[in-house]
């Protein structure tokens, strides 16, 4: 066997290890509902299948520890949600985007910077201020200062009934310091990346 072949074998081992790490990261990300920085610090969580069909579009509640829980039932009434949060002292910017689209990044100065790795993002002020969990989105007012805006972007798949692995909806949560530019829709190539081996959603999600 030549040098090139031996090197290829070693590199493929490394590639397989990276693929494995990436899959594990995807699973962890979905469980924790924490954020991954996609393009320019977007904290995106792809959540397969949401079946809740109860009425009002969302529910907002305050927890004993001062955090605010937002449960989204349907992707509508963004303005009213912003109003409800405003009354609780949180300036929010909520966008519902069509499937396969996301808001262009660069909407303002993102707390936590335009950083990259999921680990760094988990520690960023944005991730502390707005977190996705299996029970809803938690906003911590203690981590949102005056002049800062909690930006939440949701994309919904039209097809909620297919058995094919697919992204049902996607959430981006971050905090922008200072002015927030309006959402400009752009294509989201990650939309079609459902993660996991062979495109299956990770087990347990």
């Amino acid at each position: 066997m030549s040098f090139e072949e031996r090197l290829l074998m070693e590199l493929k081992t490394e590639v397989a290890a990276r693929g494995e790490r990436r899959r594990r990261t995807t699973v962890r990300r979905l469980f924790a509902g924490a954020a991954v920085a996609g393009l320019a610090a977007a904290a995106a969580v792809a959540v397969p299948l949401l079946t809740g069909t109860e009425r009002p579009a969302y529910a907002v509640s305050e927890n004993a520890d001062g955090t605010i829980r937002v449960q989204i039932k349907e992707f509508r009434d963004a303005d009213r949600l912003e109003g409800d949060l405003k009354r609780m002292g949180i300036t929010a910017d909520v966008s519902y985007t069509p499937p396969g689209k996301r808001c262009q990044s660069n909407r303002g100065r993102v707390l936590g910077g335009e950083s990259a790795t999921p680990e760094e993002w988990d520690k960023s002020p944005s991730a502390k201020a707005v977190r996705m969990t299996r029970h809803g989105i938690y906003i911590d007012p203690a981590h949102v200062a005056a002049g800062q805006t909690v930006v939440m972007e949701f994309a919904e798949n039209d097809d909620q009934t297919s058995d094919e692995p697919q992204v049902r909806w996607q959430f981006v949560g971050l905090v922008i310091d200072g002015p927030v530019k309006p959402c400009v829709l752009v294509d989201d190539p990650l939309w079609y990346d459902v993660g996991g081996p062979e495109g299956q959603p990770p087990a347990g999600s």
Binding site: F3, L7, L11, K12, V15, R18, G19, R22, L190
Partner: protein, 183 residues
């Protein structure tokens, strides 16, 4: 397409196809610049590890695979020259020269000999300003188009063309340097 390219870092099959397409070109690229077979072997390994690290930076719409790869190879080589790469943990683990046997050494030395003209041309270029030297290397020695060289260096095509023109004026007398395309 960005996702497809990122797959080479996580999918062994996609990576193998990419590797087989380019391993010869990368080896020759390095043999034109380095005359020690052990170092060439280390660097080939290092370039492909760098490919894994930066696969997500590739945008297929913005130019050719080889131009992107030569850009990665150039960065790897300058890192080596700064010796920074020795600090990389992966380089300790995946060290190319460990994989060489005597047949490989002979083959690599032949490659290095075959590129000796190119290395002499590099010496002649040593006096050029760095920006001009980088362009003429990629065009005259590595046979990239001007557009590809610009992509590899992350500069505009017009800038690359101007630098190429200046470098050729200085190096008119050196064989090899006038080769390459002007597209």
């Amino acid at each position: 397409m960005r996702r497809k390219q990122a797959e080479i870092a996580t999918d062994p099959v996609a990576f193998e196809a990419f590797y087989r397409r380019h391993v010869d070109a990368v080896t020759r690229f390095l043999a034109r610049r380095v005359d020690d077979p052990h170092t060439v072997a280390d660097l080939v390994a290092e370039v492909f590890v760098a490919v894994l690290d930066s696969a997500q930076t590739y945008r297929s719409g913005l130019g050719s695979e080889i131009a992107w790869l030569y850009g990665v190879a150039r960065n790897t080589l300058s890192a080596e020259r700064r010796r920074a790469f020795r600090e990389s943990r992966l380089a300790d683990r995946l060290n190319g020269r460990r994989l060489l046997d005597s047949d490989d050494l002979v083959r690599l030395e032949e490659r290095i000999d075959a590129e000796s003209h190119a290395r002499r041309a590099f010496e002649a270029m040593a006096e050029l300003p760095e920006g001009e030297r980088a362009v003429i290397e990629l065009v005259a020695l590595d046979q990239l188009t001007v557009a590809e060289a610009a992509q590899a260096l992350g500069i505009r095509q017009g800038t690359a063309r101007v630098r190429l023109h200046r470098a050729r004026r200085v190096l008119r007398a050196v064989p090899f340097v006038m080769g390459g395309t002007t597209r």
